[in-house]
Assembly symmetry: C2
Homo-oligomer: 215 residues x 2
């Protein structure tokens, strides 16, 4: 067990160094953006030689993936907190969707990272299905409250899932537009468009629920 403790300590040190690199990566992301976050830039920020990172991570994208993963945890926490004190499913649904939207509106770097990695299923050097599934699970966890709220409003699991996917897609598109700023938005903001869409989705759910109650 002495060996275990020693091994545990060295493992802890190793984990600490990984964290050091990940923090450096996060810092470079924030300051230089995704494009400027080269392996060498991250290594320099962490006080390492580029090659050294390969002892702690499999690839550059593996670092990206791990940064995104902690971002997804943070996202999920934000959503959960936003609905913590709400009881009405419709209110919860609305709050969850808007919290999701708001998180990425305030953290555009995380949005970049997400778009980059989630689009990468077909990139040359993939992440491997393991990490891929981890990321999917992280995102699914953050979106779960939306699905749950929809089901609490009477939607079937399939309907609820579809609503979640649709809301996610709509939010992603609006965020992309608002982020790149290529299409001007007159008067209203992306957030208002998202709010309107969410309300309409809720209305649709309610209508369907009422129709089912009558039959």
């Amino acid at each position: 067990m002495a060996e275990q403790r020693r091994q545990g300590r060295s493992q802890a040190v190793k984990e600490l160094k990984r964290g050091l690199i990940l923090n450096a990566a996060r810092k470079v992301f924030e300051t230089e953006g995704l494009d400027g976050a080269s392996l060498r830039a991250i290594a320099a920020e962490a006080g390492y030689t580029p090659a050294a990172l390969y002892f702690h991570f499999d690839s550059k994208e593996a670092i990206y993936a791990e940064v995104l993963q902690t971002s997804l945890v943070s996202l999920s926490a934000t959503v959960d907190q936003a609905i913590a004190n709400l009881v009405d499913p419709a209110v919860r649904l609305r709050a969850a969707a808007m919290a999701f939207f708001g998180f990425y509106a305030e953290n555009p770097r995380d949005l970049d990272l997400g778009f980059y990695l989630f689009r990468g299923g077909m990139r040359p050097r993939g992440l491997g299905l393991e990490r891929d599934e981890q990321l999917n699970a992280g995102l699914a966890a953050a979106l779960k409250p939306i699905t749950n709220a929809a089901m609490a409003m009477g939607a079937t699991p399939e309907e609820a899932d579809l609503l979640m996917v649709d809301a996610f897609a709509h939010a992603a598109g609006l965020l992309l537009l608002a982020h790149t700023g290529r299409i001007r938005m007159f008067g209203a903001s992306a957030s208002e468009l998202m709010a309107r869409y969410t309300d309409e989705s809720i209305e649709r759910l309610k209508r369907k629920s009422d129709a089912n109650d009558q039959s």
Copy 2:
């Protein structure tokens, strides 16, 4: 004027060579995808040395931009054709939105190109505002029928523009999801979600129009 003719001919030859390179680029896009469409690959496909392309184009992204531009023309034509024989504004709106969506569902490479370039307002080496504005205009032209149809249904220019932006964002998000295939869609397809959204937008427009008529 003999000089003009000569100059005109040499200009025509030059344009022809540009077209050759652009066709090569399109071919590489289709076969290898966006990631595989390196400058050297395009040059090889066109029978050129990499450096030779810089005599005809300013940069790699300038080639991308020009390919995308012809794609946008094609998109606009597709949308226009889809609504050519339709008179009812609501029907035209629906058809235009779905044609837009369908175009990118059937031409995912063009979607890649669009996402890549339209996200690039903040990339290191931009395209220059001139080309940027050209692309914006090309996209705006393809989306114009949506705006027009909305206005024909009684929407103000601002409302119509907002509806167009929202529809574009929603379509972009759904296409992105359907394209990368990272989130499974149970039962319904992205196209069905887009259709439902379009119908609801039309319903909203009609309600608003009726309310205005009453007041």
